[in-house]
Point group: C2
Chain length 340, copies 2
Amino acid sequence: MSAMKKEYKVGIVGIGTVGTELVKVLRHRKFPASEIRIIARTERDEVIAGETFHVHAASVEAFEGLKFALFAGTEGAKGASQQYGWPAVERGVVVIDNGDDYRMDPRVPLVIPEINPEALRKHQGVISNPNCSTIIALMALAPLHKVAKIRRFIASTYQSVSGTGRDALVELDQQARAYAAGGEMTGKVYPHRIAFNILPHIGGVKENGHTSEEIKMRNETRKILDAPEIAVCATCCRVPVFYSHSEVLNVEFEKPISPEQAREILAGSPGVKVMDDLSKAVYPMPVDMQGADDVAVGRIRKDETVPNGLTMFTVGDNIRKGAALNAVQIAEKMIEMGLA
Amino acid sequence: MSAMKKEYKVGIVGIGTVGTELVKVLRHRKFPASEIRIIARTERDEVIAGETFHVHAASVEAFEGLKFALFAGTEGAKGASQQYGWPAVERGVVVIDNGDDYRMDPRVPLVIPEINPEALRKHQGVISNPNCSTIIALMALAPLHKVAKIRRFIASTYQSVSGTGRDALVELDQQARAYAAGGEMTGKVYPHRIAFNILPHIGGVKENGHTSEEIKMRNETRKILDAPEIAVCATCCRVPVFYSHSEVLNVEFEKPISPEQAREILAGSPGVKVMDDLSKAVYPMPVDMQGADDVAVGRIRKDETVPNGLTMFTVGDNIRKGAALNAVQIAEKMIEMGLA
């Protein structure tokens, strides 16, 4: 009896790009799930990642008996955690929310398991998964922050369309096909064409002309690293790439840190892969990181224009480590820490 | 007789993407050319931008009688200015070189006509056209530098494949078609696939792990602005876009400058177009700037993480203002200033 591994009933709320990836990641990692219960807007049967699921219509009762509920938090499932999050917690469910509704809520830990697992100890039932761009930046930055303390960083992003959701993947695909067929590249997901174009515009307009995505990178970084003094200036751009976000990071540290040291620290950090040999054309690229668990870092070099400066290029799969994988890792970490 | 406009014999050396654009720009601007003489590797007749030209085989004699020789400086024409540049000058030709062979040569002015035309007065026969990324950054930055003095800037670029040349345009086109046909996306121009991908790699490996493109942005900026103390850190990335380079610029000024002031200054600067209304999804994009003369600037906002900081997004056609147009404008400016 004692050899029997404990199993958990897991709910997934929303079944777009992130919800589908959650199923894949749970199966791939052999998460001890006695049940995977899909909850979405309408009841139906659906094949998800090769398995037929009975999809339950969203209601407070649909969460009954679950240990974990993973809210995809994007596309059709936006707002679901506001409606069902805390009510599910009252029924004994641990809610892990990939959406942005509760990330800055002081009751809610915002967690990247490799970086700040201890924040989970204070949870009150809801845990937030950070924004994809924040996760991909911090997987590269947090290990360096531990050693040399970050004072300020600038992030310029190259974000894939999968971050917008399934409709955006279809839109880029259709525009690429229209191009090849000599047709017109039309769309409705983005305000402008995305194929063979760059849109410096992710999210709504927020303070001082920054977008919500840009503000998230600053605020979430401060909360995750528990460092409210870190200065972050981000510019977030959508690029014609299907999966994986790329980011140029220019970082100023309190203490000196060399590219060699940074490479060594990152090579020893779980979930990080150093790909850094420009002379052999080795560096991270979105097509290589699609579907990968690790976040890759390369082009690590001195930024000589500032004391203790480094610049680097980091790439991670926004749907995987940037969303679904990180959420599942939070559940695993809570089990490991005896918190669930 | 006095009403007759003076005309000039103009040579174009190399007939790839930039050479072809030079023909277009000369015609479009009604440059007073009594002859356009195309010089390339082999003698032939060729239709260029809708006109049939007799192409002259490159030799020192081929430059005889020209007033201007515009060296395309890319692809097949690389090295031509080393071989024929100064010998042409000895024959009385003014050489305007789009390549990078002479840009840092103290004998050679490096000129963006809207920014530093006075540098032309000291010319010794060869004038260099700056690198496309430098031109597109400085069209946005130089007018602000005049007012508030730049101390440092960080550039993260999103550079189109046309900067590599005609073969790269074909490569991206073929990969997009292969994608649509469900085939394999192969290539030989870039070390990796470019369609639906990002390559943080433009140029060769130079000092401290920077690429040649990144170093050019620093060195050329200092020479053009005659400000050797300006600190520049660039990361240059190739993106799956056909024409126009985009750049995120994070700038630190000596003196305070507000986004409103910056917008006003740029709106009054020749060759610059302000496109900046995020709430209406108005900002510069490569698809809009393709074929345009202006460099567009938008997303102008405070970088609150540093004293006197601004951040912005700038886009320009790398083949046009980034190369051919700027070269023709240099010739026009020299005529206007009585230097040719």
